[in-house]
Symmetry: C2
Subunit: 418 residues, 2 copies
C-alpha cells in the first residue's frame, strides 16, 4: 500500500473506532486508562531499551545536550507518564454533559450536549512523553487519536504507543483508539493534515517551523500554539515591590516556557524609580537586557532593541524593556507585537486595570499576577493539551473540555414546521 492509501486506511480505522469510543462511559474509559498506566510500569524495561536506541542515534547525530535530555527516558520519567495517565483517569469526564436545555413554545425540548470531536491528530517533536499525555487526554474525551512524533524519538514513541495500545486493549479498549504514524517520511504529515472527512482536528505541538509547515499544508481545522511573546506592564500606580517580584518571576523562574515574559513595559512616571533597581535584580539573575532609548537613558548596559526584538520569543534570559506614556500605549504595543498569549498589568488603579483587561487581545490577561500562571494545572483543568493562541474553539490552556464539541438533541411529540 502506498503512503496515501495507508494514511486513508488509518483515518478510516480512527473514524470507525471514534464511533465506539463515543458510547463508552466514564468508568470504562478510566479502567482502560489505568490499564495503560499499569502496562507502562510493567513494561518499563522494553521502553528503556527502545529509548536507548534513540539516544544512541541521537548522540551519533550530534543532537544538543538539551535535545538529548528531552529525548531520554528513565524509570522516574516512565513512572511520571504512568502517573499522568492515572491522573487523567481521575479527572471528571466532560462527555455527555448537558450545556443548556430549553423548551420552546411548540413543546420541543432542545438540549445542547457535550460530545467528543471525533478524530484528533497530534503532531509533535522530540519529547516521547507527549505520546502518553496526548493519547490519555484524547482517549478520556472519547476521541480517536492519530499521533505523529518527531523522528528522533521514533523507537521510543513506537514502544510507548504499542504498550498503551496493548495495555488499553487488555482492558477492553478498541486497539485503534490510539494509532501512531510510524514512517518518518515527511509526506505523511501532509497526508495526515489533508484527511478531510476523516480527521476532525489537528493540534501541532512544537516550534514555529513545525506550526508553519502544518498551517501551510492543512485542509482540516488546526488549533495551534503559535508562540508566547508575553508582556508585563508596570503602571504609574503600581506597587513597585510587587512589580519587581512579578517581573522577576515572569522572566526568570522558567525562561524557556511559553508563558514566560519577553518584554517589560514601564510607565514613564515610575521608570526612574523602578527601572534601575529592577534591572540590577534581573542582571543579578543573569538576564540580558535590550531596550528603547528611554530605558537605556535610565540604566547602563542595556543594548538597543531592534524592531524584530519586540516580537521575538527568546525562551531564554533576555528581556526587552520599553518606557511608555500611558496604559493605552502599553495596550497598543502589546496588541502590535505580542502573540495573544498572556500579558499582565501591575497597577493600583482600577481604571487602568479595566482598560488593560478589556483591550489587550490575548488568551489570558492578568492584573497583579505573573504571566507564568497560564497553564492547565494552574487554571484547575487538571491537565492540558498545550495552550491555544488561536481564537476559535479553544483559547488559552486546552483541557478535556476543549477536546469536545456539542450536538443538539431535540425531543418532540410529532412537531412539524408550519
Amino acid at each position: 500500500m502506498n503512503l496515501h492509501d495507508e494514511m486513508i486506511a488509518m483515518g478510516d480505522r480512527a473514524v470507525a473506532v471514534s464511533r465506539e469510543l463515543a458510547k463508552l462511559g466514564a468508568e470504562a474509559k478510566n479502567g482502560m486508562l489505568r490499564g495503560m498506566a499499569a502496562a507502562l510500569r510493567a513494561r518499563a524495561a522494553e521502553l528503556l531499551t527502545a529509548n536507548a536506541g534513540d539516544m544512541e542515534a541521537g548522540r551519533a547525530a550530534e543532537l544538543s545536550a538539551s535535545m538529548l535530555d528531552r529525548l531520554q527516558l528513565t524509570d522516574a520519567r516512565i513512572d511520571a507518564m504512568a502517573r499522568g495517565l492515572d491522573e487523567v483517569a481521575a479527572l471528571r469526564d466532560p462527555v455527555g454533559e448537558t450545556l443548556s436545555e430549553t423548551t420552546r413554545p411548540n413543546g420541543l425540548v432542545i438540549r445542547k450536549v457535550r460530545v467528543p470531536i471525533g478524530v484528533i491528530a497530534i503532531i509533535y517533536e522530540a519529547r516521547p512523553n507527549v505520546t502518553a499525555d496526548a493519547a490519555a487526554l484524547c482517549f478520556k474525551s472519547a476521541n480517536a487519536v492519530i499521533l505523529r512524533g518527531g523522528k528522533e524519538a521514533g523507537r521510543s514513541n513506537r514502544a510507548i504507543a504499542q504498550v498503551l495500545r496493548e495495555g488499553g486493549a487488555a482492558c477492553g479498549m478498541p486497539i485503534d483508539a490510539i494509532q501512531l504514524v510510524e514512517t518518518t517520511d515527511r509526506e505523511a504529515v501532509r497526508e495526515l493534515v489533508q484527511l478531510t472527512g476523516r480527521v476532525d482536528l489537528v493540534i501541532p505541538r512544537g516550534g514555529e517551523s513545525l506550526i508553519r509547515a502544518v498551517m501551510e499544508q492543512a485542509r482540516v481545522p488546526v488549533i495551534k500554539h503559535y508562540k508566547g511573546v508575553c508582556h508585563v506592564f508596570v503602571d504609574a500606580s503600581a506597587d513597585l515591590a510587587m512589580a519587581e517580584s512579578i517581573v522577576e518571576n515572569a522572566k526568570c523562574q522558567r525562561p524557556g516556557v511559553c508563558n514566560a515574559m519577553e518584554c517589560l513595559l514601564v510607565h514613564e512616571a515610575v521608570a526612574s524609580a523602578f527601572l534601575p533597581r529592577m534591572a540590577a535584580r534581573l542582571v543579578a539573575r543573569g538576564c540580558g537586557l535590550r531596550g528603547d532609548a528611554a530605558a537605556r537613558a535610565l540604566v547602563d548596559g542595556i543594548r538597543p532593541a531592534t524592531e524584530k526584538d519586540w516580537s521575538t520569543e527568546y525562551m531564554a534570559l533576555v528581556l526587552n524593556i520599553r518606557v511608555v506614556g500611558s496604559v493605552n500605549e502599553a495596550v497598543a504595543h502589546i496588541n502590535r507585537y505580542g502573540s495573544q498569549h498572556s500579558d499582565a498589568i501591575v497597577t493600583g488603579d482600577e481604571a487602568s486595570a479595566r482598560i488593560f483587561t478589556q483591550e489587550v487581545d490575548s488568551a489570558a490577561v492578568y492584573v497583579n499576577a505573573s504571566t507564568r500562571f497560564t497553564d492547565g494545572g494552574e487554571f484547575g483543568m487538571g491537565a492540558e493539551m498545550g495552550i491555544s493562541t488561536d481564537k476559535l474553539h479553544a483559547r488559552g490552556p486546552m483541557g478535556l473540555e476543549e477536546l469536545t464539541t456539542y450536538k443538539y438533541v431535540v425531543r418532540g411529540s410529532g412537531q412539524v414546521r408550519g
Copy 2:
C-alpha cells in the same frame, strides 16, 4: 495600489476598528443598528435604482428566474432588511458575559469572559439581503466585518453597504466596522482568506463550489455550511401517523432549504404498513421517489437509487428511500452518507431513541420531530449566520454567541509562581 496591498489595507482598517468595537456597550451598538435600519428605509429609492441595474444586467446575462427573484429588491424586501436590523438591535448582547469564574487556592480569581472574535469575513452569493443580515450580526457581536458578495448583486451590495456605513456612522459607528470588497476580481477572495493575522474567521455562505474554493485557498479559520443531506428514520415502534406527518413536513414543506430531508429510512418491520401510504402521500405532493430494492418491491414507480444519490442534496421534491433492519443500520447509513446536519428518528422506543441520539454524529438529532426545526429562530437564537456543519467552535445554527470567543481575565494581589 495593487489588489494584494488593497486587501491588506482593508484588513488593517478592520483590525484597528475591531479594537474600538470591543469597547462599545450594548446601548451604543443598538443605537447604531437602529440608525442603519432608518437609513435603509430613508434611502430605499437609491437601493432600488442600484438594484435595477443589477436586474437589467442579470436579464441580459440570462440568469434563471429563481436567481433573478433572489436578486431583486422591492420596498417590502428593503423594509424586511431594516426590520432585521431592528430585531438584531433588540437581541441580548453576549459580549462581556462571564462564562465561568473560579478562585484558585492561591487566591487568583480566574474569570472566563465572552469577547468578540475580531475580524470576520463573509463570502456569499447572489442575495443582497445577506449584506445587511451579516453586517448586523457581526456588528452586534462587536466584530469588524469584511463582506464579499456575488458579482451579480454588485451594484445592490455596494449601495446597501454604503447606506449601512453612513447610517451607522451618523450614530457614531466607526465607518470601517462594515467594509465591502468592491472589486469583482476573483483573486480578491484568495487574498481575503489568506489574510492571516488580520482576518480571524471566514464564513462562506453559498453552494458547494463556493465552499470548496474557499476551503482550498484559506489560510485563516473557516466555519462552513457544507450541505444538508438530512434523514428521517421510521423505527419499528413508530407512531405511523406521526411518522407520515413528520416525513411529509421534512420533505415537502420547503424542499429547497438545507434542513429539508433528502432520505427516508424505514425499519423493515413497518415498511409494508408504512411505505405504500407514505409514498402515495408524497407522490400526491409531486415528490419523485428513488429507493433500494426492498422499497421498490413494496411500491410501484420508485426509481432505483444510485450510490451517488444517497449522498446527494437534492434541494427539490426528490426523496431517497431505504429499508433497514435496525436502528443501528439506520445510524450507520446516516453516518456514512449524511452531512452531519440534521437527522430524525420517529420511534416509541426509548432505547432506540437513545442509540440514535447518541450515535448519529450530526449537529442536530431529533426524536419525533421534523428536521425542519434546525434554524436559529426556531432554536431561540433570534437570528442566525447560517448553520455550521463543522464540529469546531460552532455546530448547528450560528447566532450571536457563536460569533464570539472568550478570554481569561485573571486578578491577583501579587501572586508569582513557585
